[in-house]
């Protein structure tokens, strides 16, 4: 059986790949965006942490919004969607993004498995604030509440199991300063 295909912009490049799907209409189910990105498009940033949208390790940006790719089924992703992953976050010349620079400068990881979600989730949050004309550097408490899923613009928690929280919060704050300029 021929598989359906999805064509999206991934980190600025047009890509096309099949995805697995079953059923039709309201009973349709399909492969998660996470598997599609990792297994078909060789992306390594988004990670399988929990598979139930509770930890954030799989976060990618879908049309600018932080998206838990482990529960996002491919048939619900539009053709021509714009997808950004950690793999493509650095500038084309390899220059790290301010978030990447800040995470390194503050050594904001232990095992580093959760870093994808923290960086990509914060990226979407900071970019959307800036796009909405909010050029205030978020306070420490705002960053903590955002990462805890306890802020007006985010109800989804991000997990770090190693206990690197204070460094991560500081890194997001430092990057925000740089992004806002």
């Amino acid at each position: 059986m021929a598989m359906p295909t999805r064509a999206v912009r991934l980190n600025g490049s047009e890509v096309t790949a099949d995805y697995e799907s079953a059923g039709t209409g309201t009973s349709q189910a399909s492969e998660p965006l996470l598997y599609w990105l990792r297994d078909r498009l060789d992306q390594h940033g988004p990670r399988f942490g929990c598979g139930i949208a509770q930890c954030g390790a799989c976060t990618v940006l879908l049309d600018g919004a932080a998206t838990r790719s482990c529960v996002r089924q491919m048939h619900t992703v539009a053709d021509e969607a714009d997808i950004r992953t950690l793999d493509g976050l650095a500038a084309p010349g390899g220059e790290p993004h301010p978030l990447q620079r800040a995470f390194t400068a503050l050594q904001a990881a232990q095992c580093g498995f959760c870093a994808n979600g923290l960086i990509m989730g914060s990226l979407a949050w900071l970019e959307s604030r800036i796009a909405a004309g909010n050029n205030a550097v978020p306070t420490e408490q705002e960053i903590k509440d955002f990462l805890s899923g306890a802020s007006p613009d985010n109800t989804r928690n991000y997990l770090c199991r190693c206990g690197t929280h204070t460094r991560i919060v500081a890194a997001v704050g430092a990057a925000a300063k740089e992004m806002i300029g």
Binding site: S30, H44, G112, K144, D145, R161, C162
Partner: protein, 773 residues
């Protein structure tokens, strides 16, 4: 860079000219590269160093003009230890960080280095590696002295070159002059710590940039060509039996499904994609399995009583007795208290994953029939257990360590490797198994619930006698070659695990003894995890029937629970005696280094909130494993009287782990201990009913029903005070601080509320009930 390729066991290529030093990272003696270890010219000008058989603890430090390579069975576990070990090597070689690479955790390339566990990588490995680097540097110096025609004492080394009398020669040039294979020279001079340039500085972690731009490859990124995807289907409970698979045709009709595999109670599916495997394993779209319900575990609510019930003990061990009975009997001021901590889980961020490639026959060149990629803490032990599981000889199994998410002990990764191996053997192709979150939460081996009976006598000058009785399940059920039933898949196949251990020493009893100067007694009652072959038997009976969830080594083993009981009870005694809790600790500790970490908190302590009104501060102390790093911790918190919620506001840790290799890396480790310790003290508890674990995810709408862990907005300010001891050996820092957290928190809650909590976790429900009590 040299390419590491090994045509046969215990050999590696060492480049066109080399200095190779053999040593042991176990520190159990000098595993010399004796005369059996010889360098020989191979093909293409390459040199092969044969690692002699019969030297089972050999690691190698190899210098070539292209690379400095450490071949080690030790593995990085997300703690940054690789960077610290690198600092130690380059310090002796007068080089910079970044010049060293590691080949780690591969049973083909390394021989047994034991486990990477227990906060010991720097403590044991670092000292050995330093001596190996000093040995290599001495040989380099000999070569340089010859090349420059001077006495070695006249040489100056920096930046990869030697200088003497205005002439220079580079390390690369010297290394090209020939191959020397050396045993560890325990007399090779090491640098004076006062001259250290790299050790003691906050070098950035070598692995982090790649983890922030997705170029670092975790275990989860390893997918050899042709790899299939597997999923496991677990029983509904620990003791469920006699599975009958239904809807097999429905599963097999899914595009991409290769096989449904059943061996006794082990059930899995294999498909060409993750999604096809997921659908085949799902009861709504794939197979359905009907099971006979098994016997219930000891009810969770009954644990504090049941752990103390002799019917659940297979042995009682007196770890230590300074003769306290007469002192207790003669005292007119004796206090007693009972403590309890629940089952807790490692909860690795990335659900356990593994890849196995089991072939129908051994490779004719290498003899390898099964290759397994795993995040295991012990490649050699896992190799043995998997060999038994598959019916192969250990020599036919190769286990390759790849870094997974932080594990904090023996978590699900070994079991997942066994799942992949069984499925790969069944289908004759490489299989990658990715556990689901429910597999991890429901089936990883947990840290054990423990109960404590504390008794002590007070005299006019302080504590005069101390007794600690613990009731604890095993803190070690790691894979073993003898019994593949130590792996979950093995047990599900009907194989039995190892007998339960005969002692609690350095296991569930870790840090049960205290290092205060008063006489003490420590007694441990060892809990039957499963039905055994007799009342006092530690051996499992068949069929394996659990009484409590399976338990094993989790960060600091029994130390977290034991220190909670010790340091809370110490606080009770101080208050009963009308003494300042920090001052009484200082007065009771004979070791000056122990006193120093406590005194480092004194300013903070003296400026603490006065207590009451829901705001309070507490302290706790421990010396990890009684003989290692010293930690004293101050916690300041407030308790919300309306919700029962505890908010930790501020933590200060004073820490002495000897010579500090990398201060910023060390602070990161301590901060991690603090945060995870708060999480375990306030939130974490494995829930189960009947024989089935019910806390199968991170959170739900019902607070506390799932395995909730700390959130970003629950993390306090953390300050670390490092007491550097350049003249003392480095001690591990991965685990010492976590044990101080529950005691310091409980003591701070007492200061805030006047209520002594003796059961973890301190959830809002529990706190509110007591406040309203």
């Amino acid at each position: 860079m040299t390419t590491v390729a090994s045509p046969s066991r215990r050999q590696f290529l060492a480049g066109a000219g080399a200095i190779a030093v053999g040593f042991s990272l176990l520190g159990t003696g000098v595993a010399a590269a004796d005369s059996a270890a010889a360098g020989s010219e191979g093909e293409g000008g390459e040199v092969r160093v044969d690692d002699p058989a019969g030297a089972p603890t050999q690691s190698w430090l190899v210098l070539t003009e292209d690379a400095i390579t450490v071949f080690s069975g030790k593995v990085e576990l997300g703690t940054g230890v690789q960077t610290s070990l690198t600092q130690i090597v380059v310090e002796e070689l007068r080089l910079g960080v970044g010049d060293v690479r590691y080949v780690q955790g591969d049973t083909l390339l390394n021989v047994d280095q034991g486990l990477t566990a227990g906060s010991k990588s720097v403590q044991v490995g670092g000292v050995q590696l330093r001596q190996a680097a000093a040995t290599a540097f001495a040989e380099l110096s000999r070569r340089a002295a010859k090349a420059l025609g001077v006495d070695p004492s006249k040489l100056r080394a920096a930046d990869g070159r030697f200088t003497a009398r205005g002439r220079t020669v580079g390390y690369a040039e010297l290394l090209r002059t020939g191959t020397t294979v050396l045993p560890l020279d325990t007399t090779a001079p090491v640098r004076d710590p006062r001259d250290y340039v790299v050790v003691g500085t906050s070098q950035p972690r070598v692995d982090l940039p790649g983890k922030f731009d997705a170029t670092f490859r975790f275990l989860h990124d390893i997918v050899p060509a042709g790899t299939l995807h597997g999923r496991v289907v677990r029983p509904p409970g620990r003791n469920a039996r006699n599975p009958v698979i239904g809807n097999l045709d429905r599963a097999k009709a899914i595009d991409g499904v290769v096989a449904v595999v059943q061996q006794e109670r082990f059930i899995g599916v294999v498909a060409t994609s993750q999604w096809a495997a997921a659908r085949a394993a799902s009861p709504t779209t794939g197979i359905t399995v009907i099971w006979d319900q098994g016997p219930a575990l000891i009810q969770q609510a009954d644990l504090p009583t049941a752990l103390r019930d002799p019917a659940n003990h297979y042995a009682t061990v007196v770890e230590k007795d300074d003769g306290v009975a007469p002192v207790l009997a003669a005292s007119d001021h004796v206090l007693t208290a009972q403590y309890f901590t629940p089952f807790q889980m490692h909860g690795t961020m990335g659900a356990s994953t593994a890849v196995a490639d089991v072939r129908p026959a051994p490779d004719p060149d290498t003899g390898i029939q099964a290759t397994v990629w795993s995040g295991t803490q012990g490649v050699t032990a896992l190799r043995g257990a998997i060999a038994g599981l598959l019916g192969l000889s250990p020599a036919a199994v190769r286990v390759i360590y790849e870094e997974a998410s932080g594990c904090y002990g023996h978590d699900g990764v070994d079991d997942c490797a066994a799942d992949a191996a069984l499925l790969s053997q069944a289908v004759g192709a490489p299989v990658r198994v990715q556990w689901l979150r429910a597999d991890e939460h429901g089936w990883e081996p947990y840290g054990g619930a423990q109960a404590h009976d504390m008794t002590a006598a007070l005299g006019p000058k302080g504590i005069t006698a101390w007794s600690h009785v613990i009731y604890a399940p095993t803190a070690n059920s790691r894979p073993s070659a003898k019994n593949p039933g130590t792996l979950l898949a093995g047990a599900l196949k009907g194989l039995l695990p190892d007998p339960l251990p005969a002692t609690s020493v350095d296991s569930s009893g870790r840090n049960a003894p205290v290092t205060y100067g008063f006489p003490q007694r420590v007694e441990a009652h060892l809990i039957k995890s499963f039905e055994t072959t007799g009342p006092a038997s530690a051996a499992p009976s068949a069929p394996l029937t659990y009484r409590i969830p399976r338990t094993t080594a989790m960060r600091s083993l029994g130390g977290f629970s034991n220190s909670f009981a010790n340091e809370s009870f110490f606080d009770e005694l101080a208050h009963a005696a009308g003494r300042d809790p920090l001052a009484l600790r200082i007065a009771s500790l004979p070791d000056p280094r122990a006193v120093a970490v406590c005194k480092a908190l004194r300013d903070t302590w003296e400026n603490r909130p006065t207590g009451g009104n829901g705001v309070g501060a507490g302290v706790a102390f421990q010396q990890y494993e009684v003989v290692n790093a010293y930690v004293a911790t101050y916690v300041e918190l407030h308790v919300d009287g309306a919700t029962g919620q505890i908010h930790v506001d501020r933590v200060v840790v004073a820490h002495d782990c000897g010579l500090v290799i990398n201060p910023n890396g060390l602070r990161n480790q301590i901060e991690g201990n603090v945060v995870q310790g708060i999480s375990r003290a306030l939130k974490e508890e494995v829930h189960y009913a009947g024989d089935a674990v019910t806390s199968l995810s991170w959170s739900s709408a019902t607070p506390g029903a799932q395995y909730d862990v700390i959130r970003f907005n629950e993390v306090p300010q953390i300050r670390t005070i490092l007491i550097d001891r350049p003249d003392q050996p480095p001690l591990g820092a991965g685990e010492p601080a976590i044990g101080t957290m529950p005691g310091a928190i409980g003591n701070a809650v007492f200061a805030a509320t006047g209520i002594r909590f003796r059961t973890l976790p301190l959830t809002p429900d529990r706190v509110l009930a007591a406040l309203n009590g």
